[in-house]
Symmetry: D2
Subunit: 488 residues, 4 copies
């Protein structure tokens, strides 16, 4: 069974995680290990990949557009990046069009020596900080929010690198899971709310860090634990490991959408199996919104685990009513005669012999714009389904993300534009239901969502942003935050 | 759910269909239709693709290595191939290394005008015929067996094209589904035993032909019927359609492996839904070889339908115990430390949280060399499975195919090398079972396999080849056929 | 000083030799030698290059578009073509757009074994012969006239290869210098009139053949002699060399334009130094058409030797009044403001400081369409030249070539469209003169042109074609030849 | 006649100008104009090219490796760079291997807005300044010396851009011709000694700047004058032009090697025609060092003007004894048999028929390592020359350049290693002479070289560097300058 490949979605009808990071220190083949690990995180960002390594003297860097395999599978590529420490990055989009400059890891020669950083997340006051830094004569090489951190480190007056980094991070707001390399070793850290994931592993004498535990499976490393929200872990070349919590303790708010869609089903996130959480969401959905049907059919591939959960809870058989093609990714010229909707059919084809005359329920992980959902419902009807019900394994996605996830403008989100019944009408389903927000929390193992202090960042569903959004406020004027919430 | 992608199997541990063909006549955008149809047949051959079109005056051709999307998705590519008739081909390997020369459709300027042909199958006396033709001064442009047909047509003394083609086909032996284009129209035909598939469809005034019905779904055409074994269907530009059976009637022997693995699950083959046949094989397997286990786990993606059938028949839950990555296709540099078996893990990763401590049964469609099966069993045990049973949705594959399927040398086929118990030991499963040959026939809807006159070509399982194999006999000496059967 | 590079002439205002051939036998590194030799012939054809080699067992072939250096300078490329015999080809255009298929050497598997051929020239009855061969069932792979020779050899009934080749050549008419490879050795031959050049050289035990002697200089081989008109030279792997004259003796008619423009100035053609012939033409021109000027200025680079001759004969100083850039070959976007005629200026720039206020005579090798000549005269006037006279080191080019030279349609040749005075007016020169046809013959060392039996093919100047032109006649009807001569 | 193409010299046996710059303001098609102008400066740097444009709001940049034509001849490329102001740069080497980062124009977002700079020359205290800037928290994006200027501007406390630029330039030492773009307009300037060239032109309402006047010819602009040493010229969008001399007056020291070799012969440098200066050097050489020979032969192409001057002064005929191929640039695999020295022969071939038995004098512009000179003398002897004399149109090149010219390590310069007679012996000439330093000054129009205050920078001949060399001194310790002069 394949995990979801959101970026091949030609309709852009999925939220997209923008980055994945990986680091390895004290590893004989640090770059080869990083390439493999990064490859396992490919679903977190397919548009560009980069690796920076350090051999005790020099830093080496190679960055390119496209997949990890296109850039880092040759022995020549690996040989260009010698050393026993390396960090890598996959990213979705190179915002601003300035191309390779924004591909990470970013690197700079500071007075203290080389400094490389790979970042998953988004600094929500980056624009404001950048403006101040440029005013003092700083010259930026990229349009990346991450570069702000480097300039803050470069101009910090603290004497040690770790103090300069903490000094810099105190000034930034938002979401960040970072892997930093200096001539003294590797530092991994996570923002105080732990919005984006980061895990730590071990492989012999090597220490490894990754956005998801699945990267450890492919390289044969053991998952040790999550990097804690607000924690900095420093690993030196003598193998010593030091943990710091310079920001004090705070209730964590990890991203709940990692469970819904971003992470691979074989990853462990927040101590939970993503696959089993997704099945539990499906079961919860069956309890909350049963359907009197003959078949449970997943929208492949991301709807599969929830569909299995729905089927097992409801007793209605799980069947492959939609067959997905591997060979997508390009738009073909549409012939004028006949081939209506062929672009969606190239990707998803109805298993006509199966669904003909049947009442079915489709299970998908989420609805973003709704355009793909509509086409899939139409396709099922054309294939002869008697009834088409739709169940969604997440609450309605009604708010944008400012923490490193690519969301369409809010006005394009179906759930920001209309209520449940108009949504049902829009996608032309016989019935439509989303799992409730408390149901989602239950599937993740909580009793319910604590309203005063939610256990996760669920802003995309609730609009409840766990940090201030300085850049947004500056752009939109004083009452930006307020008016923003009124859009819906 | 994805259909199987055999050619991304980096261990070569699947049989590989070598070709897919598609043709469209009397279509306003014949080339665009053909590109889309061919794209839906991509799983039948990923190494090269070609399309030839005809606009009433000229033939146009474009062929390239790689996928259909790489060669035929731009408007420039389509514009190079104008006309209302087109035929295309995807193929697996360019045997002989002469590169593009062997990519089909093959084309020749005959005295009667242009002649293009796309062929799925293999001519088993091609070498012998070629030797004779060269002796008479013929110059071959390719090393393809298909070119023999063109030379036979070119030198035939019959007055009409259809007679020359029949004259040529009378001389060839083996498997062929052909789409031929001449300045007079399109001819589709299938060898007298109908070994390889070919279906006919309709889209408005256009007539289309394809290796599998799934190609019609994507373009919005309707499946009319199969081209019959031994039938030639001629379609002219005035829309007239003529059916010929020049070779007399014979019992058909279509390839049963199309049901097992080659065809997409959403195709209809021999009037049966491939998906439902695969589920039936899984159910049959559950009846024949039950397993006392907690979970039914498919080897993705080709084992999924049979696993659903096995689960439904046995009542044991179907679960995704193996997660397959989309991002494969290249070999990475293996790091020296730790990352054992990372190449198989890049493709298939254990869903450790699910299988830990569980008794499981793995369902795969077939076993070829057995090397992948071994690695998957090992991976399940490393992930903590308490017992690992293995069930195979086809009988043991013990014989090579000479009809257009790429099989390893017979000595590399696990089932040609050993009996059941040693096979089980080799793949280190707690138990191993294959569906019986009669069970397979039952799943396809027969009561049993008729020994005297089997209803399918099942030579890969039984060694019972439905045609003589002239080239092989010539290579191996008089009693080749005999000794061949003794290898096992 | 550079030799002429006709194909970078973006106005197409030069005649273009269409091919160069090279062969080496009994050479340890036959392919490396051939690549170097071919590179020295690059000026004879820049659009495609190919080499075929033979190692005693197999033939190997590699062909590509672009320059020799782009295709044959890597060790990988050379390693793909092992053996001690190789032949190569550079060509100008791939007529008919069928791409690589027409790139030579052409190769075929005949009943007698492999057969490769590289051809410089043009078969003027190729279309007629092709029609007959296709009628007998032959299938052509290319649109090249050369392939006719292969089919004639393939279907010849003579027992030996050399007899079959002679049999084939008896049927063809036109110009050909061929290098043929078979499993028995190499055969070089030249048509009975010796229209296109071919020379033979020696390097240790190796025998080499080339279109021009300059190819021997670069590889360190010695020029032995020209292959004689109508001669076949066969070289075997034991080193034996055999000369045949199967067509009887005939007066030769080598192409006089090789002296005017095609050949490199450092080549020896017909026993004469091309450089010294070009100087002699310039001197002859000074005698026939003196000019009362201050400076003799060559149109670079092809006008340089004639300009030196003109200067030395007339006593007027030779000066670089036009500077030519190396960096041409692409068309730039023309800015709207100002940059008039920048495309010609990118290639040729006036040495303004030199020519300002001076009376000058420009020397060019030939005038084809006249468009470039006009622009150069204009450029000299803009730069301040007081008078601009024009002298041409060949007679007026008024007829097309059918022997392997790319000429514009006759109606585009300036000299086919108008007399001398209108030509002068067209190019806006103060005076214009061409060398006389007898003057040209004198420069080449003859007393005069023998009208009844000219010593050279000079059809482009005189319209006196030395062979019949069967295909042309067939295309144009019975009295084609006649009407053709009446066009002017 | 072609101007010299130093970078195709595969033996690196020429000094190489490292850069050319071009700028256009108030031009409707600023980028198209710049691309054409840059193309005319291609000989000053072939390894990379870049253009930055400004449309009143945004800056746009495109930089690539390879020639201008490869990067800027498509309409897509031009369309990416809209605006009425643009500046471009060609460069030789991307020192330090950091690839595109060092390709100019460099660009930065300063607090005052965008800032782009294209630089020809070399800052001889760049390393020292960079060290100080990094210590204050500056982050460099490139290893280019030019970036130092940007950081000095970014951190300058002066209120206006022109003051900040002057402030920055006061701190730098060495050679620079700069074209700067800001949102207010274009600033062109030249270091106080005017070491590297820069000229100003006009085309309608547009103002253009370029390294050489030849760039104006191709775009149809008029040369106005040189930018003066130490001058800043500021052009605004309203067309106003302002000239500043903020550094006071100083005697200029332009590079004399521009006359010898770097500039195109059709350029005007320091008010003199480069072609006529080169002829004058040849004439001077003939007076100083006559040779009793039959032929004057240039080493093509750079020796041609001096050879014409030598021939006209001496009365010995000028002849093309060496033919140069256009088709060079790649190294071929050397065959083992025979083809000795084929790499030099691919580029230069002896006109054997001409030189055989003759006494010749070869004229070249300069001798750097001497290896090519040796090969050319050998080639002439192999071709049968009776005597081979060698005359050089510049004094012995015995010192490295630190002002933006790529010179080999001093220990590789032939004239730094040995006196005249050993040099003659090394290159195996019958006699060898260089023009005297005073002779060179006379050819340029001076009476003699003023020892106390030379009119040119001639450090490569005399070791008399016109500026201090801070970085070099820092690297080599206190008495670096001193010991440096003792190397010879």
């Amino acid at each position: 069974m394949n995990f979801t490949d959101p970026f091949h979605d030609e309709h852009g009808d999925k939220l997209r995680e923008e980055c994945g990071v990986f680091g390895a220190i004290n590893a004989a083949d640090a770059t080869a290990v990083t390439a493999l690990g990064l490859h396992a995180l490919q679903h977190r960002g397919q548009e560009a990949a980069g690796i920076t390594s350090f051999d005790g003297t020099e830093f080496y860097s190679r960055r390119g557009t496209g997949h990890v395999a296109e850039n880092f599978s040759s022995s020549e590529a690996i040989a260009e990046l010698p050393g026993f420490m390396a960090a890598g990055h996959v990213r979705y989009s190179t915002t601003g069009g300035s191309g390779l400059r924004n591909v990470q890891p970013l690197y700079a020669d500071l007075a203290s020596g080389g400094f490389a950083v790979a970042h998953n997340g988004n600094i929500s006051n980056a624009g404001t900080l950048r403006h101040e830094l440029v005013g003092r004569g700083a010259i930026f090489q990229s349009t990346s929010d991450t570069e702000v951190i480097i300039h803050l480190v470069a101009t910090s007056r603290y004497p040690t690198m770790i103090d300069r980094l903490v000094d810099a991070l105190r000034m930034v707001e938002g979401a960040y899971s970072l892997i930093v390399m200096t001539p003294e070793g590797m530092i991994a850290c996570r923002d105080p709310l732990g919005i984006r994931p980061l895990v730590m592993g071990k492989m012999g004498d090597s220490v490894v860090f990754a956005s998801e535990s699945v990267a450890f499976d492919v390289i044969g490393a053991q998952l040790i634990r999550e990097v804690e929200p607000g924690e900095l872990i420093r690993v030196d070349f003598d193998g010593s490991i030091q943990s710091l919590h310079p920001f004090g303790k705070q209730a964590a708010r990890p991203c709940i959408f990692e469970h819904v869609y971003f992470s691979r089903p074989d990853s462990i996130f927040g101590g939970k199996s993503v696959y089993s959480v997704r099945k539990a969401i499906g079961a919860q959905l069956a309890l909350e919104s049963p359907a009197d049907v003959d078949l449970v059919i997943p929208v492949p591939d991301s709807g599969v685990p929830a569909a299995i959960g729905y089927s097992q809870q409801s007793g209605v058989p799980f069947e492959l009513g939609i067959i997905r093609s591997h060979y997508v990714g390009r738009t073909f010229i549409q012939p004028s005669d006949g081939a209506r909707n062929s672009s969606v059919k190239r990707k998803h084809n109805a298993n006509r012999a199966l669904v003909e005359g049947k009442r079915i329920v489709l299970i998908d992980d989420s609805i973003v714009r709704g355009t793909t959902s509509l086409k899939i419902v139409e396709m099922m009807r054309e294939a002869g389904a008697a009834e088409v019900h739709f169940r969604v394994a997440s609450p309605p996605t009604a708010h944008s993300c400012f923490y490193g996830v690519d969301t369409p403008e809010r006005s394009k989100l179906l759930a920001a534009r209309m209520e449940l019944e108009p949504m049902r009408e829009f996608i032309q389903a016989d019935s439509l239901a989303f799992v409730s927000i408390d149901g989602l929390y239950r599937a993740v193992g909580m009793e319910e969502r604590k309203k005063s202090c939610p256990q996760f960042c669920d802003a995309c569903f609730t609009g409840d942003y766990p940090t201030s959004l300085t850049d947004l406020a500056r752009r939109e004027g004083k009452d930006a935050q307020l008016s923003f919430d009124k859009v819906a």
